[in-house]
């Protein structure tokens, strides 16, 4: 009993903390729900015509970039022949996004040649396209920020050939046409790795980080610039969202009413647990933070359904145990215990699915997977820990005096499907035959 009281106070403390988080942190809502900023990018190639192919690869590169930069839930859309519309939710740092979107991010390696008696850099065929990825790290000797490069198969070969050819000479690394560093090659490098140091002064952290992000997102196939900037309302229409909010609340109200009417006392307890669940989840969404879109809310609704389901599973089992003539204490215990495997397995499957969808999915799928996974994890805690704790505290270890509190008739007791336990389970549930 003492442990149960401690747990009770832990739950209350968590609820208070979560409530504070809800009132202090802002809610992050996606473009479809609150709108955001709208940037129009125009491709302006220096020498060529803009072709549809060029626009497709530009769109792909921009999408890649906004995803890599962690600008959540962004819409990238073609408009006309040479424009892209990029819509960014309110929550993201617009200035940062703008700074990133216009950068071409061209990396290339050049070799020294003598032209008319003057030393010059000549382009080679080794560029940013030959990279598998870039990483941020520090130089072990002077502690400065550096960018580590990893080449792909073709890149490794090109880099080995180039360095072999340039032993004893400098090789220059250019980023967006600017010389970054020009180290002297001592021997051929065949390992497929290189490093860019920021020259004598070194890189500032932001500078190196930005370069890494841009290199990993890939270069823009054509230079593009931002030509228009506006704020926009929600894509789903402000009118629809206002209505859906009310409808959602009405729906949840009905669910709680149903639980209380059908399962009586435990149903009421589950309702309280459900409210606590909602508070926890909302606080987590704000604390992480997760940008909520309609897809995310779908995940949220499904996780509420699963949380209710966990309670229903438990109560149905408890009812069965009561029908079999068990005392309240053992019925509650075995009800929880027997329902646990099904709750665990179904939720684990959901979590595995969400993890895979989150890793390889696109932004819509990602938002859904993230909220559902968080929701399911919290629901395991709320259904099992909170509901069980409340049930034990309220009903204690007593006998079943009021079967109607559980939605049972007196005549139904001892009529149910007889459960069988192993002696180990009997000890666990506290059954005394």
């Amino acid at each position: 009993m003492k442990n149960k009281l401690i747990l009770f106070w832990v739950i209350i403390t968590l609820v208070i903390t979560a409530t504070v988080v809800i009132f202090t942190k802002p809610t992050k809502l996606g473009l479809d729900l609150v709108g955001g900023s709208r940037l129009v990018l125009e491709a302006n190639p220096t020498n060529a015509q803009v072709t549809p192919d060029m626009m497709s690869s530009l769109q792909f590169a921009i999408e890649n970039r906004v995803n890599k930069l962690g600008v959540a839930e962004t819409v990238v859309q073609r408009s006309g022949d040479k424009r892209l519309i990029v819509e960014i939710p309110d929550v993201s740092d617009l200035e940062q996004a703008k700074a990133y979107l216009g950068e071409t991010a061209e990396l290339d390696f050049r070799k020294p040649v003598m032209k008319d008696g003057m030393p010059e850099w000549e382009a080679t065929d080794l560029t940013g396209k030959d990279l598998t990825r870039a990483n941020l790290s520090t130089n072990s000797q002077n502690g400065q920020w550096v960018v580590d490069l990893e080449f792909n198969g073709a890149g490794t070969k090109k880099f080995a050939d180039l360095t072999k050819q340039l032993v004893g000479q400098p090789m220059a690394i250019f980023f967006n046409g600017e010389l970054q560093s020009a180290p002297v090659i001592r021997e051929a490098i065949t390992g497929g790795r290189a490093q860019i140091s920021g020259g004598d002064s070194g890189f500032a952290y932001e500078e190196a980080k930005k370069m890494v992000d841009l290199l990993n997102a890939g270069a823009l196939p054509v230079p593009a610039k931002i030509v228009e900037e506006n704020t926009v309302g929600p894509t789903l229409g402000a009118d629809s969202i206002a209505k859906s909010k009310v409808a959602g609340a009405v729906g949840l109200g009905f669910v709680m009413l149903f639980m209380a009417l059908y399962y009586r006392a435990p149903g009421l307890i589950a309702d309280v647990a459900l409210i606590i669940y909602g508070i926890f989840l909302f606080a987590l969404f704000k604390a992480i933070p997760i940008t909520l879109t309609l897809a995310g809310i779908a995940g949220f609704i499904l996780s509420i359904g699963m949380a209710v389901d966990a309670n229903i599973l438990i109560f149905e089992r408890t009812k069965e145990e009561l029908k079999a003539g068990r005392t309240l204490f053992t019925a509650i215990n075995s009800g929880f215990d027997r329902a646990f495997t099904s709750i665990f397995d179904s939720n684990m499957t959901t979590i595995i699915t969400c993890a895979i969808l989150y890793c390889c999915g696109t932004s819509v799928v990602k938002g859904f997977a993230l909220t559902l996974a968080v929701g399911v994890i919290v629901s395991m805690f709320s259904a099992i820990t909170i509901t069980r704790n409340f049930m034990h505290l309220i009903f204690g270890t007593g006998k079943l005096v009021h079967p109607e509190w559980f939605g049972l008739k007196k005549s139904e007791i001892n009529e149910g499907f007889q459960s069988v336990e192993t002696s180990r389970e009997k000890a666990k549930f506290g059954i005394l035959d």
């Binding site: 389901d309 397995d345 959901t350 696109t362 069988v420």
Partner: protein, 320 residues
């Protein structure tokens, strides 16, 4: 037990019922793929195809009620599934425009009857709107993005198979996956029919709705299978597999119905009182949850039972 629900006895009848439920949808999907110019089994909306955006500059700000009015009038006027969005004008430019109403719909030509129709409707609602821009926009859910989502989903299915094989048996995993495909196919089929009959177009949200349906379907099936697993542990010597299957379904029946009922309550409220733009999304989920409950009771369990019988008969044949 007083009331006996003998599902196993009529198992082939239930498989037939599943086939009857799925067949019209499949026919509609094939018919649509052949006849639609997009060659897709569903009528796809502008999220997949792209369309035209008309932007009207307004001298007044737009309220939610006004937005709903315009949407309703556009739909009455034959403009299918318009996307309405408010663009606020940043005031640094010296214009008297307060806001821009952006209307996104299917591809329409500049100066066509459709465009005049939209302009007229907007003109009825607002004082002297000015058409500031007409531009074509590409899909937000392009084929590349759609393909990526499908790949992610296939990987997720493999993950489910692996986990369920580990916790149950391969048979159960396969039945759960077939159940999930059964449910997804039903929902897609129904929307294919709606597309043919009522011109319902699917939007980007449809993918999310399908994911939700799939998630629910597997969840629901596992609960039934869990009961089978538990009963097998205690009664496998006293009862036949079919009897165990029957009583497992019966024991989980109240739970199955109550769970989908609670989810359906929320969704029905959203369908009737919620926003217009999410109606089809909610409808897809309602259909999916209903069929998901059906399939975990009458489809997945029946499959496992049939396979179990087959195994037994091959075993006895081998012994003889």
């Amino acid at each position: 037990m007083k009331f006996k629900l003998d599902i196993v006895k009529y198992r082939f009848l239930f498989l037939l019922l599943s086939a009857i439920l799925l067949l019209p949808g499949i026919v509609a999907m094939i018919y649509s793929t052949v006849t639609y110019p997009t060659h897709t089994p569903l009528k796809v909306g502008i999220d997949y195809t792209g369309g035209t955006t008309l932007q009207y500059g307004l001298k007044e700000s737009i309220t939610n009620d006004k937005l709903a009015d315009v949407r309703a009038k556009l739909e009455q006027g034959g403009i299918e599934n318009p996307y309405l969005q408010i663009i606020n004008v940043n005031s640094q430019e010296s214009t008297d425009l307060k806001a821009i109403l952006s209307i996104r719909t299917k591809f329409i030509d500049e100066g066509s009857a459709d465009q005049n129709n939209i302009t007229n409707i907007v003109g009825q609602e607002f004082q002297s709107p000015e058409l500031v821009q007409v531009s074509s926009v590409g899909p937000t859910m392009g084929s590349e993005l759609f393909k990526n989502s499908l790949i992610a989903l296939s990987l997720a299915l493999l993950g489910i198979i692996a986990y369920l094989t580990f916790r149950f048996q391969f048979d159960y995993a396969l039945a759960a996956i077939l159940g999930l495909l059964h449910d997804a196919l039903f929902v897609i089929g129904m929307f294919s029919i709606f597309g043919l009959l009522y011109d319902v177009q699917i939007d980007g949200l449809f993918v999310t709705a399908l994911l939700t349906v799939i998630g629910f379907s597997v969840h629901d099936t596992i609960v039934v299978f869990d009961r089978v697993r538990e009963n097998l542990k205690y009664y496998s010597k006293k009862m036949t597999f079919s009897e165990i299957m029957n009583s497992s379904i019966q024991q989980t029946l109240a739970r199955s119905i109550n769970t989908s009922l609670t989810t359906l309550i929320t969704l029905t409220a959203l369908y009737f009182f919620g926003g217009v733009t999410t109606k089809d999304f909610v409808l897809a989920m309602i259909l999916g949850i209903a069929i998901g409950t059906y399939s975990s009771i009458f489809f997945c369990s029946v499959l496992v039972d049939i396979w179990e019988d087959k195994k037994k008969s091959t075993k006895t044949a081998a012994a003889a």
